[in-house]
């Protein structure tokens, strides 16, 4: 690990100012992703700003009937919150399908959204990787790509976003609230928050230098059957090969997002509209532009079958 200086943030304003003032500063929340990557020297910040002291750890009702989830709310607390369990079951389910009890006790709402890909070549510092080292090439495209993305990919990067929570947030139309280093507040719909890789796979979100996430807001509950189905190599404690998050209403309409296939939670309006016509049609819509590799072509079928199981469960 490279050495770094450290400060405990005293206010949101001070935190963003400090982040903007340093060349290579990072906020640190639970630390479960950042420290992992710092040990491997994939992340090499020279200054850490501890945001755990900012008091952004509460879940509050909004005047619109939704919830404002503080950026520092732990994944385990969010999953266990009574309101979330009752009104946003999909979110609890997605969180509980991720990581382990120990990790969820540390992992935060903002940190989870900003966790970096699990592409094996991103982790192997001996291999070229455009995301880790822009311009060096992508080892995955002609390498072992079984876990990697099939849609929204580019010739620069085929990585996926690994978060389970983000899939639920996308289905629930969450909004990310931020404060910039100039003090300006922004509300970024989750649909626009994560970027596709294009030719700049190292730029993963719309956040600007020094910008801090303060909360994630859920609109008022939409009811329906809320189901998160994750398919992975072992029954627990593994990242998704693919996952399906859905809210299905009694009349068969609803919303669906898929994880493990793209650089961001993958949801399309046209696919939502096709939900009453079944898994086959929806999958064809969702993965219309898919360009799987030889190793991950299985994901197309897996999405369809998993969605089929989800729709059957919603009916039953």
């Amino acid at each position: 690990m490279k050495s770094f200086t450290y400060e405990r943030a005293t206010s949101v304003e001070a935190a963003t100012k400090a982040a903007a003032a340093h060349d290579a500063a990072r906020f640190i929340a639970g630390g479960t992703n950042l420290l992992d990557l710092m040990k491997l020297e994939i992340e090499t910040p020279t200054h850490l700003i501890d945001v755990n002291t900012l008091g952004l750890d509460t879940i509050e009702a909004t005047s619109e009937g939704g919830l404002r989830i503080g950026a520092l709310v732990r994944n385990s607390d969010l999953a266990a919150d009574e309101r979330v369990r009752r009104d946003y079951g999909l979110l609890s389910r997605a969180l509980l399908a991720g990581a382990s009890g120990q990790l969820r006790n540390k992992a935060t709402t903002a940190g989870n959204l900003l966790q970096r890909t699990r592409c094996p070549y991103f982790y192997d510092t001996n291999q070229p990787c455009n995301k880790r080292q822009p311009g060096s090439g992508c080892s995955a495209i002609d390498g072992f790509s079984r876990q990697l993305g099939i849609v929204g990919i580019s010739s620069s990067c085929i990585a996926t976003h690994p978060s389970d929570m983000a899939i639920a947030m996308r289905v629930l139309d969450a909004v990310v609230e931020t404060v910039g280093s100039d003090g300006a507040k922004r509300s970024i719909p989750i649909a626009d928050f994560h970027r596709l890789p294009g030719d700049t796979p190292h730029i993963e979100t719309e956040l600007k230098k020094g910008e801090i996430i303060t909360a994630v807001v859920l609109p008022k509950p939409i009811g329906g059957k809320q189901i998160y189905r994750k398919v992975r190599d072992r029954a627990s404690y593994a990242f998704a090969l693919i996952s399906v998050g859905a809210v299905i209403q009694p009349d068969g309409t609803g919303r669906v997002a898929v994880g493990g296939v793209a650089h961001k939670p993958w949801r399309l309006d046209a696919a939502d509209e096709d939900l009453p016509s079944g898994a086959g049609r929806v999958t064809r819509r969702l993965l219309l532009d898919a360009q799987p590799t030889e190793h991950n072509a299985y994901k197309v079928k897996l999405v369809e079958r998993t969605l089929g199981a989800v729709l059957a469960e919603a009916k039953g």
């Binding site: 770094f4 755990n52 009752r86």
Partner: protein, 204 residues
């Protein structure tokens, strides 16, 4: 991790703690000022003040500075659970947490749960049910088990909880899922589950 830094500081940690706090750990081996910090927390009920390289994880602070070597370093990447300790009553991976981020916290390690002669009920149950083979993952397994029963009692749901709005009930399936963050390469899992079920007052 800067093992040289942690080793350099650990030699004096137990005897000259107060003095050590005045001499930055890094000074001895030339770490630039500002890259070491002082931190105070409680470990197993005792106040501790350490001056550490900022890079020191809670795990390394416990093992190398405080010589509490019960907590184990397995993968050092949050994947195996051998480093599990309790912080403010919640289990975490001490390898993925910086020591300096625990100012004012209360840490409980395997040594704090119980000792030979006065074992914690979970420690006694692991002995009774042979919940290990080589023993390396055991401290983490036991810390996690104690926390798991607390989490169920507090009504925290898990991936296998059927109804999110109903009261969470103890079951072997719940134990297996909740313990999935603790790997055992010897494969002592079935005896571990027996030990936990015993403490929970349920037959395995």
């Amino acid at each position: 991790m800067a093992s040289a830094a942690t080793v350099a500081a650990s030699g004096v940690a137990s005897k000259a703690r107060a003095q050590q706090a005045e001499v930055p750990a890094g000074a001895k081996i030339g770490i630039p000022a500002g890259e070491t910090s002082s931190v105070s927390f409680k470990v197993n009920g005792q106040d501790q003040t350490l001056s550490v390289d900022n890079r020191t994880t809670l795990l390394d602070a416990l093992r190398e500075h405080l010589h509490l070597t019960g907590t184990k370093k397995g993968c050092d990447h949050g994947q195996c659970g051998a480093c599990t300790v309790m912080v403010d009553g919640r289990r975490i991976n001490s390898c993925l947490s910086l020591a300096i981020m625990h100012e004012g916290d209360e840490v409980v390690t395997i040594e704090g749960l119980g000792e030979p002669g006065k074992l914690h009920p979970m420690q006694a149950a692991f002995v009774k049910h042979d919940g290990y083979q080589c023993g390396y993952c055991t401290p983490g397994q036991i810390c996690s088990s104690v926390a798991v029963l607390e989490e169920i009692k507090a009504g925290m749901p898990s991936h296998v909880t059927g109804d999110l709005t109903a009261k969470v009930a103890f079951s072997l399936e719940e134990i297996r899922e909740r313990m999935s963050g603790n790997l055992c390469r010897c494969g002592a899992y079935s005896n571990i589950v027996d030990a936990i079920a015993d403490v929970a007052g349920r037959p395995a």
